[in-house]
């Protein structure tokens, strides 16, 4: 079966964006988006785990009995999360400290388990790797954008660089996280709704002609 990379990419980044469309992985999204750099760090960590666990689960999909597939998936995911933790502690200690508890919590991140169950356990290795990559990128982009907006408004900085002295403390706190997330989801839904609508309108004459 031929892998439709275009569809996988579109699903991960837009149609089934894990953060803004499926509303998965909400806990790190709300807690870690105080800075854009945290968003990138967390996003890349999740992307690595997604790719590796998807590949491994796809390879072992016929070996793992279906009765124990969830514990087996969690074991595989936990292994890759531990590898990410060890690498980050060694080479990126500041980011490791900044992500704190949310790094080991990637093990129970819904995005990873959902992709393992719904995609990797049913598809080939290359398609699963691509799915992991684009789902991870969708998550990373959403977290980084949210982090940048909250950092600019709540701290007056972006990626740690000072822009101005003006800041609104609300955006740095928990309530600001919920508010920013809601605005992002609303804007994303509005854009995708309008894009779908204009696509339908564009295809309408062709449909009429076909009839």
């Amino acid at each position: 079966m031929k892998t439709d990379f275009k569809k996988i990419a579109k699903d991960g980044l837009i149609t089934s964006n894990p953060t803004l469309k499926l509303v998965l992985g909400t806990c790190p999204t709300l807690a870690l988006t105080t800075m854009a750099s945290n968003g990138i760090g967390m996003g890349l960590a999740v992307t690595f785990v997604l790719i590796c666990s998807n590949v491994m689960i796809s390879l072992l999909k016929r070996t793992i009995p279906k009765e124990v597939r969830i514990p087996a998936f969690v074991l595989i995911i936990a292994t890759f999360v531990t590898i990410v933790r060890l690498v980050m502690d060694k080479f990126l200690p500041d980011l490791y400290d900044s992500l704190g508890l949310y790094l080991p919590l990637i093990v129970v991140n819904c995005i990873i388990l959902a992709r393992a169950e719904s995609f990797a356990s049913k598809n080939g290795v290359i398609a699963s790797a691509a799915d992991g990559l684009f789902m991870g990128l969708g998550f990373t982009v959403a977290l980084t954008l949210m982090g940048a907006v909250r950092e600019i408004l709540g701290n007056g900085t972006v990626f740690g660089f000072k822009l101005w002295d003006f800041s609104i403390g609300f955006f740095a706190g928990s309530a600001g996280a919920f508010f920013t997330y809601a605005v992002f989801i609303a804007v994303f839904s509005l854009i995708s709704y309008n894009a779908e609508k204009s696509k339908k309108l564009k295809n309408l004459p062709e449909l009429k002609e076909a009839e």
């Binding site: 807690a31 105080t34 072992l60 070996t63 793992i64 009995p65 009765e67 124990v68 514990p71 087996a72 074991l75 595989i76 936990a78 292994t79 531990t82 590898i83 060890l86 690498v87 502690d89 060694k90 200690p93 400290d97 900044s98 704190g100 508890l101 949310y102 740095a172 706190g173 928990s174």
Partner: protein
């Protein structure tokens, strides 16, 4: 015997055990390769505090065999280093009574100038049970800067949770987190005061 190999539960247990064994093996190898030693962590702290790696000697290390525990009830001293041939002291200290009985471990730099100890810089090392403790920035740690540590200690002015600390509740979860930080620095004050008293005697 053949039926055992075809048994679903046998297959399930074998699959899980195999995955666990392979994962365990891989992680134990990687743990050896990527292990961050106590010396490496100390070097990192020194670079974080001084901006460059400095020469240091160990004055006290609680992890060393036979070392006496320095525990004041509200916190403990983990390590004491003398940096730049005694021009500075660097403490690794842990404060208790944080959020949900959590702890905070800090690095405290104390300079020695004509027998007067001054706290120059306080940096977070690690924390337990206080998930967002790392969000507290220089503003919080800046309050610990003191020009004469022992005089303040003798006057009874130890650090305690202030109204300002309550501003950090939104990100740290509770006032107690600030208390653990205060306790960690108070341990340094107590240590230096005891040291001076011992010298006077």
């Amino acid at each position: 015997m053949r039926s055992l190999f075809k048994n679903v539960w046998f297959k399930c247990i074998t699959a899980l055990l195999l995955i666990a064994a392979v994962s365990g093996g891989l992680l134990s190898v990687l743990n050896d390769v990527l292990f961050v030693s106590a010396e490496e962590r100390t070097d990192r702290a020194i670079v974080k505090i001084y901006g460059e790696l400095k020469q240091y000697d160990v004055e006290y290390d609680a992890a060393q065999d036979g070392a006496e525990t320095i525990d004041y009830g509200y916190g403990r001293i983990d390590k004491v280093f003398t940096v730049d041939n005694g021009a500075d002291y660097l403490f690794k200290t842990t404060g208790y009574r944080g959020y949900k009985e959590g702890t905070i471990t800090l690095w405290v730099r104390v300079s020695v100038n004509g027998g007067v100890y001054s706290i120059e810089k306080v940096v977070l090392e690690s924390y337990e049970k206080q998930t967002l403790m790392s969000k507290l920035g220089g503003e919080y740690y800046g309050k610990f800067r003191l020009s004469d540590v022992t005089a303040e200690y003798k006057a009874g002015r130890l650090f305690s949770a202030t109204d300002e600390d309550k501003n950090y509740n939104a990100v740290s979860g509770a006032t107690f987190s600030a208390t653990a930080g205060n306790n960690a620095v108070n341990c340094v004050l107590k240590y230096l005061s005891d040291k001076e008293t011992a010298n006077e005697d």
